[in-house]
Amino acid sequence: MTAIKPKISVEYTGNATIVTFTDQKILEEKDIQALQESIMSVIESAGSGLNLILDFCNVRFLSSAVLGLLIRISKRVYQREGQLRLCNINPKIYEIFKITRLTKIFDIYKDLESATADLSEVS
């Protein structure tokens, strides 16, 4: 596991790239910009067909700017014919996804195990 700009950790498994947010609160514009650079770098360095999982296990608070970041990430992943899944979302934060109806456009899983369960091997 490698640390990138201390805001995320990245784990590469046989069938997925797992990005874990390391901060409890994601609010500041500069932090969101740093996250975007780090995660886009992970996406660009992978081949097409990337299975990207974003793990929110540490996150207890986020702002709507983070939702914007997730949308930009999803667009990039789908442009590269990959899949994006979110997991381990705290109930209070899941409520934000429900209110904004982003539960309709993101694949959200209860935990990492279920998020990785049916992913095919990346060629």
Partner: protein, 157 residues
């Protein structure tokens, strides 16, 4: 600058998104001191962040020469907050609903929806450069304040 009477506070801060940090910590601490629930604290925190970012970016248009005024009072049953920017104001009725159509896929435009969803009262002045926010500890029976059809969400009621 902070002006205080026993339960009323007025703070003027720089117009940059991170400038809310210290004020936010003070407000949340007062909520804890008044035994507000974790849900209440989460809700006020989110609404405060979103309203302040709106004031700085859409109101003051990131002009570092401008300021944002935050007036608040914390009582045993509710918190009231006024956030005032120095911009030209806006019409909240004209803000598109981020939950419908192509808006769902846009990266921004969800701040006002979240403010409306997490606060019990959300009112703008006529000019649209000042927002009044209230969160009650015990929820009112009926919420009548809506903006652009955005009723308060199903959260933590």
């Amino acid at each position: 600058m902070v002006l205080e009477t026993p339960n009323n506070y007025s703070v003027v801060v720089e117009s940059r998104p991170s400038a809310i940090g210290e004020v936010c910590r003070q407000i949340l601490s007062k909520l804890q001191g008044n035994s507000f629930s974790e849900d209440d604290i989460f809700a006020v925190h989110l609404a405060l962040e979103e309203a302040f970012v709106n004031a700085v970016t859409h109101g003051n248009k990131m002009d570092p020469g401008k300021e944002v005024q935050i007036d608040y009072s914390v009582a045993s049953d509710k918190i009231e907050i006024y956030i005032t920017d120095q911009g030209e104001g806006f019409d909240p009725q004209q803000v598109p609903d981020p939950r419908v159509g192509e808006n769902l896929y846009k990266p921004n435009g969800r701040g006002l929806l979240l403010i409306n969803s997490y606060m019990d009262v959300v009112k703008f002045n006529e000019r649209g450069n000042r927002v009044y926010l209230v969160r009650y500890k015990k929820k009112p029976e009926l919420k009548t304040d809506t903006i652009n059809g955005m009723n308060r969400g199903a959260n933590n009621k």
